[in-house]
Amino acid sequence: MVAATPIILAAIGELVVEKSGVLNLGVEGMMIVGAICGFAIAVQTGSPFVGFVAAALGGAVLSLLFGILTQYFLSNQVATGLGLTLFGLGLSSLMGQGYIGIRPPATPKLEIPLLSDIPVLGPVLFNHDLMVYVALALVVGTWAVLKFTRAGLILRAVGENHDAAHALGYKVVRVRLMAIAFGGACAGLGGAYLSLVRVPQWTEGMTAGAGWIALAIVVFGAWRPFRVLLGAYLFGGVTVLQLNLQAAGVAIPVEYLSMSPYLITIAVLVIMSSGRAKAALSAPACLGKLFHASS
């Protein structure tokens, strides 16, 4: 579950962004900036909680840069997202100069009384730090908001047909900016989870493609929160499995084991998109299209 949490966080944020019709390929950049923001602040203040808040803020600020460019300056979303990733990687290693090799303050584990005493299932499900549960709560919350609330309906309307939503008087740009900021905050949290809990230290480029895997998992989950959750746990399971295999000293070279999560992500993508009608239908209709009121 620990391996899957950063991916869940980033993927659920990106899901909301894509539901609003914006394709933000900068997840990787936002994650790594979140990772260093969270790490730096946690080390400075000694409190991982403040670190996570800072990570969310950092990710959101960076994502708003993307939002302003794509929503007000109408730049190409694919190119801007890539730019965000490149910029984020550079910025993060710049910010992380003084933090290499330091250990962050430990994030306390939250043992749920009674439940964590259940044999086998207890330690697996109920003995984690707070962020694991926050991630789960976010998934459930996102699902509920998208499905049952007015705000969720507006968000989906903007994503499916921005011209119609505009004609109905909804502020397309504002809705999208909020979605982008939410996505950025989630990606930042995911990055901070990597640097504060999972690894836990700061190294340059430490997200190592986690952001891209999160993007793939949104596709895999067909833009549905619970399938995204499933995909992320599947991926987390594979990661842990290959790490255990490495530790167990199986006769496969380490490098080939390490590449397996990426290969499996690709394989899953292929399987998902080959049933093409299904995948194409569930993607938001205005995904990646530019919106300008006059056009």
């Binding site: 390929l25 490149l86 550079g90 493609g209 891209w212 596709v219 070279p253 490098e255 690709i266 300008h292």
Partner: protein, 360 residues
């Protein structure tokens, strides 16, 4: 109230003027960034952009300029073809690595056989390696409709692990006393991509880059394939009615950019880098994306943009040693450049209108 108004057609003036404007804005913003880092901004900008060309030690840097610009241009030309047709190959870094490994493997297999045929064979193997690596996202896209952006990028990580395993395993120098990394091509003349003219930095990779620029120019200006690429990018529906085969186009664009990236990798590994080592890739494949955009996806523009970004690499190194500027600052600087470029691009397609919005 400032509003944006769509231009009836993209402005020619602005499409030429935006890249320099973006560079200028980046210099200003970069100066602010350097000032925040506690360095003298004017000094930093001068070290990066001025000294390598016209400064005291320019004779050394000028050669380096072409060495760095060669692979950037080579990769960016390939990428620009796909980008024009809305086919996003962002895994050039992976194709670059695989090209280098394949080419180097062929060269090392011949060691110490001495013949003029070795190097051309290496070049072919390098291009083929990159081509095949790029065919993976290509074929998956055509056959299974898989998103080529994600697949090509994820393959970069796979390629990096293959590189590590090669440098530590199959291609390791048998006489290397156990150190990771392959034999050095500098001590194997038939496989070495040497400088063609001493002191200029021109090696076969630079020549190949220039050929690629000319080739791409002709392709876009004169050849039907180039026309189809542009058509598919600007009006996909029209392209489909016009009989453009999208699958063929995808495979062509990805294969071409893969082969060029593979070539760039081979020239790098056999020349400036010298050997297959764990960390021989330095992100050219990603920087080339910036080059392609900064050059407005036009071959001549890419040539200039490649030189400019090569300058930031070299200037960045100079600034590292003389000013103690962190290496990452340059990366952030390059990312900023792409941002500003995309932002000012709005001027090409829209114009600002001051005053109240009229009621439609």
């Amino acid at each position: 109230m400032i509003t944006l108004e769509k231009r009836p057609e993209p402005s020619r003036v602005w499409s030429w003027a935006t890249p320099p404007l973006a560079v200028l804005l980046t210099m200003i913003a970069g100066g602010v960034m350097f000032a925040v880092l506690g360095k003298d901004p004017v000094e930093a900008i001068r070290t990066i952009f001025w000294d390598p060309i016209l400064g005291e030690f320019a004779f050394y840097y000028r050669g380096q300029l072409l060495v760095k610009a060669g692979p950037l241009i080579l990769i960016a030309i390939g990428l620009s073809m796909g980008f024009r047709a809305n086919i996003w190959n962002i895994g050039a870094e992976g194709q670059y690595i695989i090209g280098a490994i394949c080419g180097a493997a062929v060269g090392l297999a011949f060691y110490p056989f001495d013949s003029f045929i070795v190097f051309p064979l290496m070049v072919l193997a390098g291009a083929l390696g990159g081509f095949l690596w790029a065919m993976i996202p290509g074929i998956l896209r055509v056959k299974f409709n898989t998103n080529e952006i994600l697949v090509s990028l994820l393959l970069v990580y796979v390629a990096e692990f293959i590189l590590a395993s090669m440098a530590l395993g199959a291609l390791k120098n048998p006489d290397g006393a156990g150190f990771p990394g392959s034999r050095n091509f500098r001590s194997y003349p038939s496989g070495h991509n040497a400088e063609l003219m001493a002191g200029t930095g021109i090696h076969w990779g630079v020549v190949a880059a220039l050929i690629a620029v000319i080739f791409a120019y002709v392709l876009f200006a004169r050849h039907q394939m180039g026309y189809q690429i542009k058509l598919a990018g600007q009006a996909p529906r029209a392209a489909r009615f016009g009989g453009v085969n999208p699958s063929r186009l995808i495979l062509f664009c990805l294969g071409m950019s893969g082969a060029l990236a593979g070539l760039a990798g081979l020239f790098e590994v056999s020349g400036p880098a010298g050997q297959v080592s764990i960390d021989f890739n330095v992100g050219y494949g990603f920087t080339a994306i910036i080059v392609a955009f900064l050059g407005r996806l036009h071959p001549v523009g890419i040539l200039l943009a490649g030189l400019l970004l090569a300058l930031t690499y070299i200037g960045g190194e100079a600034a590292q040693s003389s000013l103690g500027l962190p290496a990452a600052a340059i990366q952030a600087f390059q990312g900023m450049l792409l941002f500003f470029l995309l932002a000012v691009d709005v001027l090409t397609n829209f114009r600002f209108r001051f005053g109240k919005r009229e009621v439609a």
